[in-house]
Amino acid sequence: MGSSMTRGDIENLATDFYGLLESFKHAPLYHISFEIFLVLAVIWLVVFRKPRPIEKKLTEKEKQDLIDEWQPEPLVPSVDPNHPALNVRVLDGIVGKTVEIDGKKSLNFATFNFLNFVGNQRIADKAIQAVQKYGVGSCGPRGFYGTIDIHLELEERLARFFQCEEGIIYSYGFSTIASIIPAYSKRNDILFVDEGVHYAIQKGVEASRSHVKWFRHNDINDLERLLAEQEVLDKKIPKKARSIRRFLIIEGLYVNYGDICPLPRMVELKYKYKYRIFMDESVSFGTIGQAGRGVTEYYSIDRQKIDLISSTLEYAAGSIGGFAVGSSFVVDHQRLSAQGYCFSASLPPLLAAAAIEALNIMEEDNTLLFETIMEKSKRLHKKLLSIKGYIISGDEISPLKHIRLTHAFNTIGRLEEIVQFAQTRDITITVARYLNDEHLLPEPSIRLILNVEMTDEELEFLCAVLQEALVKVTT
C-alpha cells in the first residue's frame, strides 16, 4: 500500500525511463556489448555453474611421505612385571590332594581335582600301557589316520555312561564348547545365553556370529521375558522366523558362581518356545547326581530332552580333553563341521586310556563316590556359613564354592593376603583368575574346590585357617 502516487510522479517516472532508453541509443557499441556480456555472465554464474570438487589424487612423493611417516604402535603394550601371571607358583610333583610348594606339603583346595584321580595308580598304569602300545602323540587329525581304536572306545563309553546315542571327543577342554556352538548356530540364528557362563562359551558365542540375547544369571523370569519378546517379533515375520534356529546355552553348574541352573523350568520353556538346549556340564560331570551324570540326573530329567551335553575330561575325570554327548542326529554333525575336531590333531591315546579308566572307576563305585562328594559339599557349606565375615556363593551340594569378603572389603589385594596367609598354614587355595574382557566380570573371589578324599578334620582345619585369615586381614 504505499503512498498513493500522484499523476506528477508517474509522469516523472516515465520521463526518466524514456531518458534511459534515449541514452542507450546514444551510447557507443562497445559499451552496450560490454554491459550485455556482464549481464549474461551474471546469469550464467548464478544458474549454471556447479561447484567443482577438490582433486584427491596423491602424487608419488606424497604417497612415499605417507609411508615414511606412518609409525605403528608397538606389537604389545608394556607389561607390569609384578602381574600375578608372571609370578606364579612353580610346582614340581603330583598336584593331588596335597601339593608340595617350596618343600612343604599343603592341603590342596585350589585345583579341579574333585574325585582325586590325579596320581591314581590304576589310571597311571593304564596310561603307561597306552604309551607302550601307541606312543605319545596321535600324529594327525581324526580324518587322516588320527582316529585310534581307543578314541572310538572312549566315545562309546561316554555315550553309554550318559545313556545317550553317541559321543564325540575333543583334544582340548576349552575348544570343545568353543567349537560346538559355531558348528550349529550361524549368522541368522538366535542364542539365549546366561550372563554368567564361562569364557570358553563366550568365545564360542562370539565365533558363531549369531544374534545373542543375554539374560541375567540364573534368572528364569528374565529368560521368559526375552523369549516372549522374540515371539512377538516372530509373529511379524512369520516366514523368516521359520528358518531362524534358537538355542539356549547354559551350564549345569556354573564355574564362576557355583550355583545350579533351574533346568526343569528351562525344559518346560523349551517345548513352549521351541528352542534347543546346549548345556555345558564341565563341573557337574562326576560330581552331581547319584551316579555322577550331572544336573539332569539330579533333577531326574530325561536326558533325551537336552539336545547336547558338553563337558570336559580335565576336571573330575583327571585327564585332558573334552567331549559332547547327545543323539546321533545332533552329535554326528560335529564330525564334519566343528573346527576344533576336524582341523586339529586328535587326543593323545594315553589320555584317552586314562579317561576310560576313570569312567571304569566311576561306574564301579557307582553311587558311593558321588554320594560322598555331595555329602561333604553340604557339610563344608554349613561350616563355611558359620564363619562370620565371608559371603559364600554356590549351592550347598556344589563342590565348587566362591568365597568373598563383605562388600567394601572385597578386593583382590585382601583376598591375595588371605591366600598367602593360608599357605603359611599349609592350606593351598587360590584367587579365581579372569581376563578383563569377560562379558560380565565376576566379583573378586577365592575359588574353593572340594576333593572327595578330604576328611572332616581337614575341612575343619580349612575353616579354622579361613577364620584366622579373616581376622588378620580385617584388622
Binding site: 596321535s138 581304536d149 576349552f174 517345548y271 594315553l350
Partner: protein, 534 residues
C-alpha cells in the same frame, strides 16, 4: 591357474663331510618350487563329474522325499514344529557325495602311528551309511600321518621319559597356568624351545589349533590390519576373525601382491574413517600343508621391514622337518630369527606329541602369558606329553650324546628328494617345494579320490586323499607325508604301488615330463644318489 616358479640359490660351498652338522654337500641349497598348470581337459571332466554327481544327488533326494527310497539319515528327537537344525542344502554335499566315499576318510588305526600302521578294516553293506569292524587289521606303510622325524614310537628314550613322568607327576594338574598349573617341566620345555629357536623366550600350550585361535586376539584388535595368505590354515583364520581386526588376504605366496596391499593400506588408512592403522600384522605359514610350498621368507621380511609391519610365521609343518638343523624355515632360508616377530609352531608333527608354542622377544611372551585365553582358562599341559617333547628336542639338538637327531633330519631330507624326484619323473603332477616333506600329487576327478585310496590300501599303503572342501573344487589330490622312519624299501614299495595305481586310474597328467613306468626309470641313478646322501 598356476605357475611354475623356480629359483635356485647358490649352493653352499662343499665342506668337510665329517662336520658336526649335516654337511653342506648333502644339503645343496636348491630352492625349486613348481605348480604345474591343470590340463584344461582334466578341469572340464572334473566339473562334469561333479555336475553328474549333483544331478544324481538331486534325483536321489527327490526319491527320498516322495518316499520311494528310504531315508538313511538320523531323525530329530524333537517335535516336528521345531525349526530344522540343518538346512537341507547345507547337507546336500554330505548326504550325496561325501557318503559315497566315506570309507576313505576317518579310517581308524590300531597301532602306533609310526612308519608302519595297522589300519582297521571296516565293512559296509549299505553303501557307507553304517560300518562294521571285521576285526582284521591291515598292516600298511603309513604315508598319511604327520610323523616327519619319526618320533611316533612306542619304544625308545622318549617313551621311557614319558612313562617316568607319569609316575612322578600324574597326568594333569587340573589347574590353569595362572593358578596352580605351572610345573618345573613347563619351564624347562619353554627355555629349551627358546634355545632351539634361538629367540629370547617361549610359551607352550596344550593344543596347536588353540594356540592360533586363542592368541592372535591378544596381538591384534580393532583398528589393526591383518594380511593373511589365501591358503592359511583354519586356526589362523579363526584367530584373526576373533581378534576383531580388519582382514585382507593376498594371493598365495605372492610377494608382489602383498607389497601392493601393504602399500595401499598404509596410504589409504582404515576404511571409511581413513584413520591410520594402529599396526599391521602379516600372517604366513612355513610349509603349507595342502600345497607343499614354502613361504618366501627373505622377501617377506624385506617387505615387512620396508613398511614397518609385524610378521607372524606359523611353522606347524616346518619346525623339525625343514632346514639343515631342523630349526624350520628360519634355518632353511638362513635369516635372523629376530626378524620374525612371532614364531609359532606345533609339537604334533615333528616331535610326536601334542601342543603348540609361541616364541619371540621376552616382552611379547610376557604379554601373552598375561592375556592369553589359553593360559588363563585352560588346564596346563600333561606331563608325558611335555617330557616326550623335551626328550625329542634333546635328541634333535644332539644333547643326548648321540647323533641320532642329525641322522633323522638327514634321513628325512633323503627320503624327500628320492620320493619326489621319482614321482616327478614318472609323469605325475607333484606340487610344492623340492624340499618339503609334504608331497601332494594331483588327481583332480572326484571318483578317483576314492579309487586311489582304496587301491593303495589294497597294496599296503595308507594314504590321505583330499577333495572339496579342503581344496579347490577341481584340485583334489593325494597328499603323502614322508617320515624319517621310512626306509628305502618302504619308499620303493610305495612308489611301485603308486606306479600301478597311477596306471590303473590314469593319474599321469603332466605335460612337461614324459609318462614313464617305474621299471622304466633308471634305478641305478636314484639309488646312487640316495646312498651317497645317506
Amino acid at each position: 591357474m598356476n605357475k611354475s616358479s623356480s629359483s635356485s640359490s647358490s649352493s653352499s660351498s662343499s665342506s668337510n663331510s665329517k662336520s658336526k652338522f649335516i654337511s653342506e654337500n648333502v644339503f645343496k641349497f636348491q630352492n625349486h618350487e613348481e605348480f604345474e598348470e591343470t590340463p584344461t581337459w582334466a578341469a572340464v571332466v572334473t566339473v562334469l563329474g561333479y555336475a553328474i554327481l549333483s544331478a544324481l544327488g538331486w534325483l536321489r533326494d527327490f526319491l527320498r522325499h516322495i518316499g520311494f527310497e528310504e531315508k538313511k539319515t538320523a531323525y530329530d528327537p524333537n517335535p516336528k514344529d521345531f525349526v530344522p537344525l540343518y538346512q537341507s542344502y547345507e547337507c546336500f554335499y554330505t548326504r550325496n557325495l561325501y557318503t559315497r566315499i566315506r570309507d576313505v576318510f576317518n579310517q581308524p588305526i590300531a597301532s602306533v602311528a609310526g612308519a608302519e600302521v595297522h589300519v582297521m578294516e571296516r565293512l559296509s553293506d549299505d553303501y557307507n551309511w553304517t560300518f562294521k569292524f571285521s576285526g582284521k587289521k591291515i598292516p600298511s606303510i603309513n604315508l598319511g600321518s604327520y610323523n616327519y622325524l619319526g618320533f611316533a614310537e612306542n619304544q625308545g628314550p622318549c617313551s621311557e621319559e614319558a612313562i617316568k613322568s607319569i609316575e612322578k607327576y600324574g597326568l594333569t594338574t587340573c589347574s590353569t597356568r595362572h593358578e596352580l598349573g605351572t610345573q618345573q617341566y613347563m619351564k624347562e620345555l619353554e627355555s629349551l624351545m627358546a634355545e632351539y629357536l634361538n629367540v629370547e623366550d617361549c610359551i607352550a600350550f596344550g593344543m596347536g589349533f588353540a594356540t592360533n585361535a586363542l592368541n592372535i586376539p591378544t596381538l591384534a584388535g580393532k583398528g589393526d590390519l591383518i594380511l593373511s595368505d589365501k591358503l592359511n590354515h583354519v586356526s589362523l583364520i579363526l584367530g584373526a576373525r576373533l581378534s576383531g581386526a580388519t582382514i585382507r588376504t593376498f594371493d598365495h605366496n605372492d610377494v608382489k601382491d602383498l607389497e601392493l596391499q601393504l602399500h595401499d593400506a598404509i596410504i589409504h588408512g582404515q576404511p571409511r574413517t581413513c584413520r591410520p592403522w594402529k599396526k599391521i600384522l602379516i600372517i604366513v605359514e612355513g610349509v603349507y600343508s595342502m600345497e607343499g610350498s614354502l613361504c618366501k621368507l627373505p622377501e617377506i621380511i624385506a617387505i615387512k621391514k620396508k613398511y614397518k609391519a609385524y610378521l607372524y610365521v606359523d611353522e606347524a609343518h616346518s619346525i623339525g622337518a625343514i632346514g639343515p638343523r631342523g630349526r624350520g624355515v628360519v634355518d632353511y632360508w638362513k635369516v635372523d630369527p629376530n626378524d620374525i616377530d612371532i614364531h609359532m609352531g606345533t609339537f604334533t608333527k615333528s616331535f610326536g606329541s601334542a601342543g603348540g608354542y609361541i616364541a619371540g622377544k621376552k616382552t611379547l611372551i610376557d604379554h601373552i602369558r598375561i592375556y592369553s585365553h589359553s593360559a588363563c582358562y585352560s588346564s596346563s599341559m600333561s606331563a608325558p606329553v611335555v617330557l616326550q617333547i623335551i626328550s625329542a628336542l634333546n635328541i634333535i639338538m644332539g644333547r643326548d650324546g648321540t647323533n641320532d637327531g642329525q641322522k633323522r633330519i638327514q634321513q628325512l631330507a633323503c627320503n624327500v628328494r628320492y620320493f619326489r624326484r621319482q614321482l616327478f619323473d614318472m609323469g605325475f603332477i607333484v606340487y610344492g617345494n623340492d624340499n618339503s616333506p609334504v608331497v601332494p600329487v594331483m588327481i583332480y576327478m572326484p571318483a578317483k579320490i576314492a579309487a586311489v585310496n582304496r587301491e593303495m590300501l589294497k597294496r599296503g599303503c595308507a594314504v590321505v586323499t583330499v577333495g572339496f572342501p579342503a581344496t579347490h573344487l577341481t584340485e583334489s589330490r593325494v597328499r603323502f607325508c614322508l617320515s624319517a622312519g621310512h626306509t628305502k624299501e618302504m619308499l620303493d614299495h610305495a612308489l611301485r604301488a603308486m606306479d600301478e595305481v597311477g596306471h590303473l586310474v590314469s593319474l599321469r597328467y603332466s605335460k612337461q615330463n614324459p609318462h614313464l613306468r617305474w621299471h622304466d626309470l633308471n634305478r641305478a641313478d636314484y639309488d646312487k644318489e640316495y646312498l651317497s646322501l645317506n
